[in-house]
Symmetry: C2
Subunit: 546 residues, 2 copies
């Protein structure tokens, strides 16, 4: 058994970009070979990116994937690599398998399929794949390498326990190391969960575990990397940075991983959230081929925060703010909105909507006659702004970014086709209380988001003197109840038993349920929590709720 040098590759793949992804993989193999590595480990489904969803239903996509794996294998001369993709299942059952290929001497030597197929929350692997029927081990330079693909090492870390334990099987087969190529999306709290899982499994099986994750935004899903090598005592020997393409080198000898890399410094939750959102925006624009953004700037905290995040991600010159005051907008809001653009150096335009609003109410007068001002008129204002923003986006090409936060999205305090417009929702998984914390974080060195915006009472300003608190409880309490219902999946009774007023709980939960129809048509949301609205939370519209 000789010492082996392993290169851990944490890369940003684009779904379906076989040419780009394989070039990146081949380059990494080439460099690793120059640096004397024996083996390079890539993340799950590396050649196609994770997750292509129903592109997997197209035979051409699968053929390209198989072809890419073969092509990459050819570059493995004098070095070995573990590369991921999908392949046709040669047996009965679902048409495909999620595989890692062990490549050496210019060809695929062995193909390992995934056993545990996550099918919950944002995952739907059972939609495409047949699980592995058997467990196999890779012999390499006197070592027995076990490959457990992503979920394969999470067998006891869900809210249910799988029937199979691929890690235990690998241990039985004599593996002296487990490699865990992954596509493990970020959410707040995921790092401590990973510490628990990798430390726990390395100790449980008494062998080191190497975890190789991808980075990048893939529609709603944000991948943070944080790839690492963990020794059998649970200690992290090497860890790659979050949200960055990076490669790391480790030595494996005598059952122990060594590395001379320094571990990344841990940052707190709000700093992590900030990093995640800025990276998410940046990578979304890059992968979509977009450069410039436009947003509605109301003078409120949500749009101010999004504007700051966009400016940090895209550069101040690439953010256009549109102020669209109505007769109900306070002078302060306009001043505050101007100030954030000035602080950031963003171009801005002021397009008042009063005349547009009046035209609408005039056009609708025959239908509206004799009825009071209500949510209809409020929504017309929000939708007039949506039309202006989309018009600008269509005309000059800046991409409209949505500014709704998770608390509003939850209770429906938002207008469908109005402030819910946009191609990407930056804050749709960020609660209002987190919005405030992020704003303060951004201002930590000097004032970027005007303090007036942070301090004033939140208002939609869609009717005279309106305040959010007229129809919603304090955001502190609202967010607590929402978290118990959405992330915690607790019932009204259970939430009430935690000490909240039962009629308030009843009202809030009913608001969440009654607004499923709005969220059905919401933009994709950058996912930063363990339970985001969107593909990870699929609710029926035609149903009787609790």
């Amino acid at each position: 058994m000789s010492a082996i040098k392993i290169c851990l590759a944490q890369l940003n793949f684009k779904i379906g970009d076989f040419e780009g992804n394989t070039a990146k993989i081949a380059d990494t193999i080439f460099t690793a070979k120059q640096k004397g590595a024996d083996l390079v480990v890539f993340s799950e489904m590396s050649v196609c990116g994770y997750m292509p969803d129903d592109l997997l239903d197209y035979p051409w996509f699968v053929e390209k994937c198989e072809h890419s794996l073969d092509a990459v294998a050819q570059s493995c001369q004098g070095i070995a690599a573990i590369v991921g993709g999908v392949m046709r299942n040669p047996h009965k059952g679902r048409n495909l398998q999620n595989v890692m290929c062990f490549m050496q001497n210019g060809r695929i030597q062995k193909t390992i399929a995934k056993t545990l197929l996550p099918t919950y929350d944002v995952f739907s692997e059972a939609r495409y794949f047949e699980p592995a029927q058997e467990t196999d081990i890779i012999e390499f330079k006197g070592h027995k390498i076990g490959i457990a693909i992503c979920e394969d090492i999470w067998d006891i870390y869900n809210d249910f326990e799988y029937n199979a334990s691929p890690g235990s099987k690998l241990k039985e087969l004599g593996a002296d190391i487990i490699i865990n190529p992954s596509a493990s999306p970020f959410h707040l709290g995921k790092q401590s969960l990973r510490n628990r899982v990798f430390g726990g499994q390395a100790s449980r099986f008494d062998i080191p575990v190497i975890y190789a994750n991808q980075i990048g935004i893939h529609t709603e899903l944000l991948f943070d990397g944080a790839s690492r090598a963990v020794n059998s005592n649970g200690e992290v020997a090497m860890q790659l940075p979050d949200f960055e393409e990076s490669v790391g080198y480790i030595s494996f000898d005598d059952g122990v991983i060594t590395s001379n890399a320094t571990l990344p410094i841990e940052i707190d939750e709000i700093a992590t959230l900030h990093q995640a959102l800025v990276f998410g925006i940046k990578d979304y624009f890059k992968k979509m081929g977009f450069k410039k953004a436009v947003l509605g700037s109301s003078g409120g905290i949500d749009s101010a925060l999004v504007q700051a995040l966009l400016s940090q991600a895209l550069g101040n010159d690439n953010v256009l703010a549109i102020l669209m005051p109505s007769q109900f907008s306070s002078e302060g809001s306009i001043t505050d909105a101007k100030k954030i653009s000035e602080n950031l150096g963003n171009e801005y335009h002021i397009l008042p909507i009063e005349n547009i609003f009046n035209q609408y109410t005039e056009a609708l007068s025959s239908v509206f006659e004799g009825r009071e001002f209500n949510v209809a008129e409020e929504n017309i204002q929000a939708r007039s702004r949506g039309v202006l923003l989309m018009g600008i986006s269509n005309k000059i090409g800046n991409i409209l970014i949505n500014t709704s936060n998770k608390s509003e999205m939850a209770v429906g305090y938002s207008t469908l086709y109005g402030d819910m417009c946009g191609s990407l929702s930056v804050l749709g998984d960020v609660y209002k209380t987190q919005v405030y914390a992020l704003a303060r974080y951004i201002n930590k060195n000097h004032e970027i988001i005007p303090n007036e915006i942070i301090e004033k009472a939140p208002s939609a300003e869609l009717r005279p003197g309106q305040k959010d608190s007229d129809s919603l409880p304090d955001y502190d309490m609202l967010d607590e109840i929402l978290k118990l219902y959405i992330e915690g999946k607790k019932s009204k009774d259970e939430i009430t038993m935690e000490g909240y007023d039962s009629s308030l709980v009843e009202r809030i939960v009913n608001m969440v349920n009654a607004n499923e129809y709005k969220r059905y048509q919401a933009p994709p949301i950058i996912r930063v929590s363990s339970k985001a609205f969107g593909k990870g939370r699929i609710m029926p519209l035609v149903a009787k709720y609790q």
Copy 2:
């Protein structure tokens, strides 16, 4: 072995309405007992309705389900019943199982779990359920009854073959009949598929098969019933009507099912499509507690058809048409739009949008200055209409119904937040060529949809003299290519090889791919094809396509 009389219950359940669903089930059991039935068979997940999606993640929902099953069992005195629901999985693996309970003498005697969990297209059962680990048989009055839950009898009828065959297992265990409680959604062509499956499996196992389906709309999914009893020679002994609550009685003796019911008359594809859409609208409104609809009436065929379908489903008094001509609308469109409302006796209003449009372009003049009239101005018109329609919906409570067809939705010939607004899309799974066929079908006895609307060249009328054919190929050819790409999952090359111009195929497929982002925010679509946009076709936005 004595003759048994079986009641087949095809009911309309509402998801999560445990009280309503169990009352309906208990009533049916009561009546069946009076009529001398020995056994009543209900559809899959009858107490909770199929499919509650992530409501299944909430423990209270599962508890209510289990409680409802116990409650229904109490009404099984002197009669047996097979009733569906979900239960907690007592073993390792996923938390739940999809079960049918055999009830007799006031309690659940046996619980059978589903083995094959459909997880493709609109199905995601592996997201929630652990499959059955063993197969069991029910002894009843000297008979051996096998229960195969929905997919359990489709083992060889997918684009892949399952590893397990529950029907074969039941046959091995000596079943003399297979009961197949189902939640089998409708799509065009499903009837002939069912003929093949039930006839084929009854013959394969050489025993009769009884299929009990639900009816009703469950968000996107439409269930048509068509429950039936098929003898081992493949002949249908009894069949319940489509899209209707209905119960049927059969005798089972000596391996043969007899019935004195007459079989429903088969209708052609367009008549079926018409029946499906009218039923879908009606049931959607009923279950949501809605009464009245509003739609934009452009004088074009899509809105005319939707208006006719809404009138047939809800009654002429419950449909409000809004005509919103612009400076680009032809006189003919306004006349035609008036005529359809007059033919149907629908209330209508004319709200011109020219002034609103002009207000927008004025407000945007500083941004738009020096740029040509383009899609931005076109979309402003469509969105102005969306704002008016939503304003009316918000003010008077009529529900906005979307009128986009599948061909338009496919190529993005539609405006997000404009004509894509609405709480339900009636034609989002109906190709333009089918739209014409439906219009002619509706006019079969007398003119309801003005012939001028059917005959004229389609136009969005968003710029002077615009015709759909300016930017799209003929709908006949467009629809053929779209079907090959969407339903057929063929590549550009494969479609070209079927005899289409390669640059046209390239252009159309690229349009479909480039417009995933619009469909991401589309309303729920009544599914009538084997591959509808929406939950059955999940595509990444951040990706490189073919």
